[in-house]
């Protein structure tokens, strides 16, 4: 394999991996901030416990996002130096702003939140968390501005063969970016909602299994407490049922938000990257139908044996244009258009590596786009439907005793993660063979594009990229295991894992935990 191929695998792997941690960080951070605010407003200790418990899991996950995020910024220069040179004038700015205006805020104020319990005045302490959460959301905005410029280049002029920024407003209000931002935040909230739901379900189930909670003749929960299991008091039930409902409601609202933003995003993509959407549909010929199932070799170049088995007539047209009759261009129509504008073959120039002079394949890998698109929507919808069912099943205050359902609730945590990953894989693979996708003729800035083949670092050998690919994936795999083991340990420990003072078997005194414990003069209320 060539450096190009390996570097693409590497970028895909480390980025998808990084984006397992990111949505949970963004979503869970916001939810923990809401919970802590509720605690301040109501004084209900259940909210303090929820803040501490979910906050602990948030931090275990957060650090992995931080650690893998550094790779993201470095790898543009390391493996994609031609890309960096080409886009640097416009792409570097949002990256630098992300660090300066978002990462500093996020990490500094999160440090204050972690170590500032009892040390900072209660309101200041809460404000620190909100500021950190705002930082994480702002960071999402900046990185999506950067990514969206690759999807839909705006605000630039070509100068000596490079795009230079001439209109920052256009770059930072790129419609692609605004919609992607909305879509990403709702996707992150869906992840966090499912996380709360699944884990709370487990604890409610566990309380029933251990005989703590029972169910009366009317099916309503009778909350009990255990003298032997640390932390399993009556309040503990309240922690989990509140968390479960909160998570379920968030998951449903987030899905509604992702559906709306996804629809907007789809409409933009039909206009800005018609090939991506044709490939998402494995739509070879022009038409209006949305494919439910297509069979055949969807990766065949000329689409000759792709057969749409089931179609919803008019739906595709509706997704693109809000009507049922406008034909959407298929792959067979689009390929000649691309060939006419960008050539049939890569220029015979060494910067295209071994692809120089070969035929350009304008069709993305259709099984990836077709199934990626469907997995994104399917997993997302599934998670939201499951949340609705969960609310119904728990309407009487606890979960059914079924172990199978409990397992399903835990496995269900993965669905929104799957939707997020599938969506990103779809949108990035659907842009190929371009790394900077050209705008369709007569729309947006013209003739700004870059083929992925010419973006890789020319001075870097395949061996070097293999080294980093192996090293990073090995380390990432090990760390994923470590993270999941730790999360599991802290989840199984229940609230006590984050609040040792609740352990009645070891408890001495539990004074001073109300809001406003600022009088405490401890040097360290929390320590590594």
């Amino acid at each position: 394999m060539e450096a190009l191929e390996i570097a693409r695998w590497q970028f895909g792997i480390v980025t998808v991996y990084h984006f397992l941690m990111v949505p949970l960080t963004i979503g869970l951070g916001a939810l923990v901030a809401i919970l802590q605010t509720r605690w301040h407003k109501t004084g209900n200790e259940a909210y303090l416990r929820m803040t501490k418990f979910w906050g602990k899991l948030f931090l275990i996950n957060f650090i992995m996002g931080v650690a893998t995020g550094i790779v993201q910024e470095f790898q543009f220069g390391m493996a994609w130096s031609e890309y960096s040179r080409f886009v640097g004038d416009v792409f570097g700015a949002p990256l630098a702003m992300e660090a300066l205006l978002a990462f500093f805020v996020e990490s500094t104020f999160l440090g204050l939140w972690i170590f500032g319990w009892k040390k900072l005045p209660a309101k200041v302490h809460l404000a620190c968390l909100w500021i950190a959460v705002a930082g994480s959301i702002v960071s999402a905005y900046f990185i999506l501005v950067a990514n969206s410029w690759m999807q839909h280049p705006v605000g630039v002029e070509m100068l000596d063969g490079r795009p230079v920024m001439v209109d920052a407003w256009a770059v930072f209000t790129n419609n692609t970016a605004l919609v992607a931002f909305f879509h990403t935040i709702t996707g992150a909230l869906a992840v966090a909602g499912g996380f709360l739901l699944g884990i709370s379900w487990y604890h409610l189930w566990r309380r029933r299994k251990d005989g703590i909670d029972t169910v009366g003749a009317d099916g309503r929960v009778i909350v009990g407490e255990s003298a032997t299991i640390p932390g399993r008091d009556k309040k503990d039930h309240s922690v989990w049922i509140k968390s479960l409902r909160f998570g379920a409601v968030v998951a449903m609202i987030a899905f509604a938000g992702s559906a709306i933003s996804g629809d907007l995003s789809g409409k933009l993509m039909f206009e800005q990257q018609p090939m991506k959407m044709a490939a998402a549909e494995a739509a070879c010929h022009d038409g209006t139908g949305f494919s439910i199932l297509s069979i055949g070799n969807v990766s065949s170049r000329d689409c000759s044996d792709v057969v749409a088995v089931m179609e919803v007539p008019g739906l595709l047209s509706f997704l693109a244009h809000n009507d049922f009759t406008t034909d959407i261009k298929g792959v067979n129509t689009l390929v000649p258009e691309y060939q006419e504008r960008f050539g049939t073959h890569y220029p015979d120039d060494p910067k295209y590596g071994t692809l120089a002079g070969t035929e350009i394949n304008y069709v993305p890998i259709m099984p990836v786009t077709y199934w990626g698109f469907r997995m994104m929507i399917g997993f997302g919808g599934l998670a939201a439907a499951a949340a609705a069912v969960a609310l119904w099943l728990t309407r009487k205050g606890t979960v059914p005793r079924s172990k199978g359902l409990m397992r399903l609730a835990l496995i269900g945590i993965l669905a929104p993660f799957g939707a997020n990953s599938a969506g990103w894989i779809f949108t990035e693979m659907g842009r190929q063979p371009f790394v900077v996708a050209p705008n369709p003729a007569m729309s947006g800035v013209d003739q700004v594009f870059m083929f992925t083949a010419s973006a890789v670092s020319r001075g870097v050998s395949a061996g070097e990229v293999v080294f980093s690919l192996v090293a990073l994936t090995t380390v990432y795999a090990v760390l994923l295991v470590v993270e999941v083991v730790l999360l599991t340990k802290y989840i199984r420990g229940g609230v006590v894992s984050a609040m040792p003072e609740l352990d009645q078997t070891k408890r001495e005194d539990d004074a001073g935990n109300g809001p406003g414990g600022e009088a405490d003069d401890d040097v360290l209320a929390f320590a590594y």
Binding site: L59, I60, I63, V66, I70, E73, F74, M78, A79, S81, S84, R85, V87, G88, D89, V90, F91, G92, A93, L95, A96, E98, L100, L101, F103, G111, L112, I114, F115, L120, V164, M165, A168, R206, D210, G211, I212, T214, V215, T228, S457, G459, V460, S461, G463, E464, F467, S468, A471, V475, L486, K489, R492, G494, P500, D503, V523, L524, A527, Y528
Partner: protein, 356 residues
């Protein structure tokens, strides 16, 4: 005409100095975890001196990298791709270190902690050494062709300057961290840290001084030499202050050493940001490596707002966590079991009877 590129060259130098000043001591504290700390209590004291701040410090690196990308894309692209393997190692070091800070105390087993202690110590060492090498090589040159790509294979970047730069940052970080520990802790460890500064400072700071002198000899201006003189004076002042048990003064004087030393290095190489050792025609300079003045202007506005803000709230963080830490302050590590029923739990369940 090249006012903005020059301004951004200065700003990037400031970001690197900020990074070395702040993360310098937390990298150093990481390295001290194995070599200096005696026992679990002391290791926890060390960790907690940087606990609330290390992550914020590390963002200076991301900002320096991002600002280089935005302001000098050709510099960023050539430097980062030429140093591919060293930077992979830096990244691995930073990853292990970050995760170790957070995960070390999460399981109460000696072996678990030992593994993460090594991750912190080695991760900090490798990151400091690699970043030092990178900074040295950007001032002394890499074998770059006309396009700015490295020629000569994966290790063509190697030169003794890479070693010198690595030693310079490692040495500085260890001494700076010792001064920081002396300032931030109490008890026996504070005095040991102070003795370490007194004994090893000359050795620890020499590589950076040699690097500055080497660069200044090559193409220094008169003020490069002036800055070197200031740096040496600051180092002496830091040493004397340390002797006099003035830990705060000693720490700040070491900051002045870094500021003057790094300023000497950056000012000596200006306007070249990355020399080509193959042909001076192919040097990257503030002029030919920079972004358009529109982009630089935009970034200048952002920096004018952002940098003072960052300095203000990071300073506030240090003020919030200003107290000295000693072993006596550390809360007991807390362990817990899964919140699941045992045999006793099952009895309750049986007694409750009615179930569902």
């Amino acid at each position: 005409m090249d006012f903005l590129p020059t301004l951004w060259f200065i700003l990037i130098a400031v970001l690197w100095i900020g990074y070395l000043f702040l993360e310098g001591f937390d990298l150093g504290v990481g390295m001290l975890m194995k070599a200096f700390a005696r026992g679990e209590k002391e290791r926890r004291v060390l960790l907690n001196t940087v606990g609330p701040v290390w992550d914020g410090n590390e963002v200076w690196l991301l900002t320096a990298g991002g600002a280089t990308f935005a302001a000098f894309p050709f510099w960023y692209a050539s430097l980062f791709s030429a140093l591919y393997i060293p930077l992979v190692l830096v990244l691995l070091g930073l990853i292990f270190r970050a995760v170790a800070f957070e995960y070390r105390g999460k399981v109460h087993a000696d072996r678990w902690r030992t593994v993460w202690d090594w991750a912190i110590a080695l991760g900090s060492f490798v990151a400091a050494f690699g970043i030092g090498s990178m900074l040295a090589l950007t001032t002394t040159g890499l074998p770059l062709n006309a396009n700015g790509d490295r020629v000569g294979g994966p290790f063509a970047w190697f030169s003794w300057y890479a070693v010198l730069g690595g030693l310079a940052v490692v040495g500085f970080a260890v001494i700076h961290a010792s001064a920081f520990v002396a300032l931030k802790t109490d008890g026996e460890i504070r005095h040991r840290a102070r003795r370490l500064v007194g004994r090893w400072m000359p050795l620890g700071l020499v590589p950076m001084a040699v690097w500055a002198i080497a660069v200044a000899l090559e193409n220094g201006k008169w003020f490069s030499w002036l800055l070197i003189a200031v740096a040496v004076a600051a180092a002496v002042a830091s040493w004397i202050a340390n002797r006099a048990n003035r830990e705060g003064l000693s720490f700040m004087a070491m900051g002045v050493f870094l500021l003057a030393g790094a300023a000497a290095i950056f000012s000596a190489v200006y306007p070249v940001v990355l020399p080509s050792t193959l042909n001076p025609m192919w040097n990257l300079t503030v002029e030919n490596a920079s972004s358009s003045s529109y982009t630089l202007g935009l970034m200048s506005i952002v920096a004018a707002v952002g940098v003072p803000l960052v300095l203000a709230y990071q300073a506030w963080t240090y003020w919030v966590f200003r107290k000295r830490i000693s072993a006596a302050h550390l809360p007991e590590p807390h362990d817990f079991d899964p919140a699941v029923g045992n045999a006793a739990g099952k009895e309750i369940q049986a007694a409750a009877g009615n179930g569902n």
